[in-house]
Point group: C2
Chain length 348, copies 2
């Protein structure tokens, strides 16, 4: 994930404080792999997960160091899973720069991921919070199992929406939910409040991943370092394709196209045009919005502290800033398509 | 590591009970990757690490379930590191059967390793033992960092014995030490006793790895499922080669030979003969024996419970059963060499 310019100021802890603390924690041991840690901490992501921790903790008074460190632990778990994902995917870049495996090889990346997990547990253990430890271990197990059980879904165009939702639960939603739950438990909120915040995180996570998957088709490469089309290239079937497959007119066409991992620019533009014209894009956006609304509904019975407003605006941010500012407009795509069609006919 | 027929009966918990509990813990979640877990638990290793946990705990009364589960947690950490090591090494077999990555690919293996780590932490957390958690996280960090910092030593014939010892500290000795320390702490032994047992485990771990590295050259493939020569093939320089390099007459010869990863049978036999004739084998055995003696010395001031005798015999077992019963005798090698030399001259 890329840092973006439109990031809202949500934080009682600034990104700088969090980023600094992540470095401090990781570099605290004199035997740590200094160079690799400097590399992975040189560009923070959006830090959404640690924000969820401290915003959820903000509904009661609690030790700020403890909250900060639980936020850092959650980000470390996220970082570990990204480092391992890059090994799995053979990805040579991450957050717009070389990945750990790209620079130091798979061996280093597997070990660094393990180190990051261990460091996260170490940090949680410092505060003797068994309930937080329980959430963290269960979440990692869910993340791993989600990925393993979905492995046989790769390159299957016929997967159902519920399979997709199960997949993104393990990939994203469960850690978003855990972040909120960890924050809420760290601040000793009531069980009912813990539950509301956990569900808020869960729904936000689903929405986030749906939007992210849509951006993998629609993001404007000029605004966004993310490589567009990576899901297609990996045969990772996400909601846009599942929605497109609902249109009988496109089923055969998409099935045929799907056997090609590297599309020509024209084929890619035709695919995007189909996502727009069939309403697949709209369907994905509506689904994401429903999750966001469900997330916001969870906040209704929470006390009106400043964090409440910030959790609400985080939901708005995902759709308005993260999505709308970063994707090409339909009109832009239409213009591109005419251009590519022209190019293509010139070549023909 | 292979199960072997000469395993001594050390356990208040039988291997069957431990094996059963490992399966139970791993299969407890309904979302677990059932098939993979059945596969990795179908053949136990030597279970030395969990034995170290419960033998160390046996110096005082303590909750047997808690001790058993800490023993299981340590074995899970070991299993996780093996699964990840196989990804790193691209090993297609483990304990004489297909490795996880060999059967299900790297993706599954990385995720399964993460799952095993998480399950180990989960189990430790069940008993709210922050001191044990601290040891476990620190040990995993040491294991990872040891491997990372030694990565640049691969294929370097000139490494010093102290670098090798540092390498096997991270690879083996630190987890042996941790197993003893975890057992001792679980049973609330005195700080002095904890320290003695930790040092016992550390020394035993060094000895174990030195013997294991020697067996990588000397083991009889007929008695031993382990593939002989894997360290050579991977360019992993261990004590036998370091010792051989001390002999000036062999330095140039070994340097030349070392550029070949796949030796002919004759070259291999010549290498083994050189290890014997230069005293490199003897040097390794002496070094291992010194560590074993240092381990046994740590036991002198511990109370004479039955576990004490078992810890002593574990040290004997490593040298007498694990090593002597499994390696070819020098005479056997000499015979083989004549055979290979004949074969070679027949082909010439």
């Amino acid at each position: 994930m890329e840092p973006d310019k439109s990031r809202p100021l949500l934080s009682p802890f600034s990104d700088e404080i969090l980023g600094q603390r992540i470095k401090e924690v990781l570099l605290s041991s004199h035997t740590c792999p200094h160079e690799m840690i400097v590399h992975i901490t040189s560009r923070n992501g959006k830090l959404i997960r640690p924000r969820l921790v401290y915003l959820s903790a903000s509904f009661a008074e609690s030790d700020p160091d403890r909250v900060r460190d639980m936020a850092v632990a959650v980000e470390l778990i996220h970082m570990a899973s990204l480092v391992h994902d890059d090994v799995i995917d053979g990805a040579s870049t991450r957050r717009g720069q070389d990945s750990i495996n790209g620079l130091w090889g798979n061996q280093a990346a597997v070990l660094l991921g393990d180190y990051l997990f261990a460091q996260a547990f170490h940090l949680i253990n410092t505060y003797t919070l068994p309930a937080v430890m329980e959430i963290a271990t269960e979440t990692i197990k869910t993340m791993c199992m989600g990925e393993i059980s979905q492995m046989n879904m790769a390159c299957q165009l016929q997967i159902k929406q519920e399979d997709y939702l199960q997949k993104i639960h393990g990939k994203t939603a469960c850690l978003f939910a855990a972040a909120c739950k960890i924050g809420a438990i760290t601040a000793a909120l009531s069980p009912a409040q813990v539950k509301m915040l956990e569900k808020y995180g869960l729904c936000l996570g689903y929405a986030y991943q749906i939007i992210d998957d849509l951006l993998d088709y629609l993001a404007d490469p000029l605004l966004w370092n993310k490589v567009v089309g990576s899901d297609w290239q990996e045969g990772n079937v996400t909601l846009p394709l599942i929605a497109l497959m609902q249109d009988k007119k496109y089923q055969q066409w998409l099935s045929d196209l799907f056997s090609t991992r590297q599309l020509s620019p024209l084929q890619w533009q035709q695919l995007i045009a189909a996502l727009y014209s069939t309403g697949a894009v709209k369907y994905c956006l509506n689904t994401a919005e429903e999750y966001l609304q469900a997330a916001i509904r969870q906040l209704e019975h929470l006390p009106a502290v400043p964090a409440l407003q910030q959790l609400q605006s985080l939901a708005d941010y995902l759709l308005n800033d993260y999505y709308h500012k970063l994707c090409k407009t339909e009109r832009q795509f239409a213009k591109d398509m005419v251009y590519y069609a022209d190019q293509s006919s010139l070549q023909a």
